[in-house]
């Protein structure tokens, strides 16, 4: 950084130039995508679940359990089963998806079969997941943490495309983690699934008017199980990304750190649509990336604390549900249990 731009950054008279310098860095946009990825997966999953009428505030817990078990399975696969790093990491991802789906099934079972309050069940799963992962982490790994040579999923450089130098697009878009591409794919697929397939239409009808759907011969309960477990699988992939991204995997206590709740917020700000959720996740991811970029640096006379930037997604969500920037309305039957015996 030249002396002049340093002066401009600190001096404050043209601090917009400081912002421009920050925005020009490819790293900012790379981390935006990297931060958005787990949010996007969980938010898209939540969208599918809530479209079917089951409130899912348990994305945090599902991601956390998935993150732990992705690391644990990858560790076991590498040591006990003798798999090489790529296979071990893949086994970790599979383990994550399976465990998160199991947790999702538990939520679905309590909510659909036993008409549990869906918010209470979600809260319980979040607390349970935190307790379970912390307990297993400290019991199995102690103070040493997960092994440093744990298999991970490294970023891939897509041939030809990754070399694009225009606006550093190559390094921003085409040198990412494979799971980042899967996250974007999941948005497109979920949109297609929900709005352009028969099954998607049925899932939405179950979330809007289960009685009518039931009368039309749709199995309300089964579709809700399917939607909730799908959301668990997607959250699971997000959790695996948190633990395994990079050349080496790593699990730390409470690794999700509220990302599941940010994903929930993104789902709401995105008005229960996959593309809306994606937009909100990119915005929140950008906020986090920016917070890290500008942490401790000076913009004009104004120093920005990470904690203030961290508040933004939550404040935006409050404004959004408050209807100040376009009202977010949930699916009509979201959160209401359905009992076919009562309808008959």
């Amino acid at each position: 950084m030249s002396l002049l731009s340093h002066y401009l950054l600190v001096g404050g008279s043209f601090w917009s130039l400081g912002i421009w310098n920050t925005l020009r860095q490819p790293l900012l946009w790379q981390t935006t995508l990297a931060f958005s990825c787990p949010l996007m997966l969980a938010a898209v999953g939540g969208t599918i679940s809530e479209r079917s009428g089951v409130v899912n505030i348990a994305m945090e817990g599902m991601m956390l359990v998935a993150a732990f078990f992705s690391a644990y399975v990858a560790d076991q696969a590498g040591t006990a089963w003798g798999l090489g790093p790529p296979e071990a990491a893949l086994a970790g991802v599979a383990g994550a998806i399976i465990t998160a789906s199991l947790i999702a099934w538990l939520h679905a079972w309590a909510c659909i079969r036993f008409h549990a309050n869906q918010v209470v069940s979600g809260m319980a799963i979040n607390l349970l997941a935190l307790g379970l992962t912390s307990y297993l982490y400290y019991t199995l790994y102690g103070s040493n943490g997960t092994p440093s040579n744990l298999a991970g999923i490294p970023n891939v450089h897509i041939p030809a495309l990754s070399g694009i130098s225009f606006l550093s697009l190559g390094s921003i878009l085409f040198q990412q983690n494979p799971i980042v591409y899967l996250a974007f794919a999941s948005v497109v697929l979920a949109h297609f699934f929900l709005f352009h397939t028969t099954l998607g239409l049925r899932i939405r009808s179950v979330g809007e008017h289960p009685r009518a759907a039931d009368a039309a011969g749709i199995n309300v309960q089964r579709l809700r199980y399917l939607a909730v477990i799908l959301s668990g699988a997607l959250s699971g992939l997000g959790g695996a990304y948190l633990a395994l991204n990079g050349p080496h995997g790593l699990f730390t206590d409470n690794i999700t750190g509220g990302r599941g709740f940010i994903a929930l917020a993104a789902m709401i700000v995105g008005k229960w649509t996959p593309f809306g959720a994606m937009g909100a996740c990119l915005l929140f991811g950008f906020g986090q990336a920016l917070a890290i970029q500008v942490a401790g640096t000076t913009l004009g006379n104004f120093q920005l604390s990470v904690y203030i930037v961290n508040m933004l997604p939550y404040l935006i969500t409050i404004v959004a549900v408050g209807g100040l920037i376009g009202r977010s309305t949930p699916p009509a039957a979201d959160g209401l249990p359905y009992d076919p015996a009562e309808a008959a």
Binding site: I57, A110, V119, V120, G296, Q303, Y307, V321, G322
Partner: protein, 414 residues
């Protein structure tokens, strides 16, 4: 407080909030079945987790009794936990010390439940109250007997104001309180970090104490006086906030069952349409419910800082998750004051006994979070407990029982 009665012309009475028509003498026992079943199931599953994950039993005579590991490990752990929570007079008062903030927070959650609102935000409200009352506590240098009541009032007001935001948004914009209170939790958490750490290198937080790099607030000029003489129990920490909590239990019950406002709250909680037809100001009742709920939550944060915290607010405050545990405590206590107090003591015993269990039996304390999470899960899914309790096996076609806890039924959507 609220002119619900005078605004009611010839309209029929609102449906009186749920009272069973025929109360038998054993009815309270039936009410206890689900909470006790939930606790039992959680303890059993917690035991299974311990039995599977822990490699060896240590620190007790149960270990050398020759029982297989899968049985001796959990038995020993629970025995150590029980001793740890109630073994000595010191442990008993310490269990109560842990329980007091939970009582306040549980009153907050239960009051909102009664009004049909799900206040997940007790956690954030208690941060807000802790921040405000700590600030006042170290800024003013008044004598303790006047400063402490002032700090109590500040704590109540700060909690209430933090809860006012979701209350207003719910009443006048229809924003679901679960979302808004949850988001405000994280805003309050970040605000606390900001005030205690700042996050900018070289600049201490606004409330940070004199030790650089130590995320602890300045010391307040007063704390709750200890009510257990040290000649009885050395190092006792149990303080006047316990008395305040019991008084709040009385206030909670009186407000709900002996005032017009409480009637309006329960009417809105059990049937919002009937309440509206009866002329109750639903929106105003929702706002007042959140205000009072937030006030109770505020006392939880305030009583923590001026009690166990010793007049300092630490960054590790968020490790306690009082606001979340309070949901379990409120549900377990069936949204009554007595129930909440008993359930809070149980959770206090788990928290305090858990530390002893970790020290003597070598079981990580996080097992306690697992048990607490399971309790919430099972209390939330009462029908599941009844099902596992055997009733479900005899009924060919399972049908969920009407939930007994007054979880907002009107709309649980997020």
């Amino acid at each position: 407080m609220i002119e619900a009665t005078e605004a009611r012309p010839a309209a029929p009475n609102p449906s009186p909030p749920a009272e069973e028509p025929h109360r038998r003498w054993y009815a309270p026992l039936g009410q206890l079945a689900v909470p006790l079943g939930a606790i039992a199931l959680a303890i059993i599953i917690g035991g299974v987790v311990m039995g599977v994950a822990v490699s060896s039993c240590q620190g007790g005579s149960i270990c050398s009794s020759g029982l297989p590991k899968h049985i001796s490990v959990p038995l020993n752990a629970y025995w150590q936990l029980l001793i740890g929570a109630f073994g000595t007079p010191y442990d008993i008062q310490e269990t109560l010390v842990y329980a007091v903030p939970l009582m306040f927070a549980a009153f907050a959650v239960a009051f909102a439940f009664r009004g049909g609102l799900f206040n997940i935000g007790a956690e954030g409200q208690l941060y807000a109250a802790a921040i405000a009352s700590t600030f006042v506590g170290y800024s003013l240098t008044w004598p303790g007997w006047i400063l402490l009541p002032v700090c109590i009032v500040v704590g109540v007001l700060a909690g209430a104001l933090w809860a006012l935001i979701p209350g207003l948004l719910k009443a006048y914009r229809g924003a679901h309180e679960v979302i808004t209170t949850m988001m405000l939790n994280y805003v309050a958490l970040n605000l606390m970090h900001f005030l205690l750490i700042n996050g900018i290198t070289g600049t201490p937080g606004f409330m940070q104490g004199p030790l650089p790099g130590n995320p602890i607030s300045k010391s307040t000029n007063t704390t709750f006086p200890i009510i257990v003489p040290h000649s009885w129990v050395p190092n006792a920490q149990l303080n006047l906030s316990l008395v305040l909590a019991l008084i709040c239990g009385v206030i909670f019950t009186f407000l709900l069952f002996r005032t017009t406002l409480g009637y309006a709250v329960r009417a809105v909680g059990s049937n919002i349409k009937a309440a509206r037809y009866a002329g109750i100001h639903v929106n105003r009742t929702i706002v007042l419910t959140m205000l009072i709920s937030g006030g109770f939550a505020g006392l939880a944060g305030m009583s923590y800082v001026f009690g166990i915290g010793g007049g300092q607010m630490a960054d590790t405050f968020d490790n306690f998750t009082y606001g979340f545990d309070a949901i379990a405590v409120a549900l377990l206590g069936k949204n009554t004051a007595v129930g909440a107090i008993l359930a809070a003591v149980l959770f206090g015993a788990l928290d305090h006994g858990g530390t002893t269990m970790q020290a003597t039996a070598g079981i990580d304390t996080h097992i306690i979070s697992i048990i607490q999470g399971l309790i919430i899960f099972f209390v939330g899914a009462e029908a599941l407990v009844r099902f596992l309790g055997g009733r479900g096996f005899t009924v060919t076609r399972f049908r969920a029982a009407k939930p007994e806890t007054e979880v907002p039924a009107e709309r649980a959507a997020v």
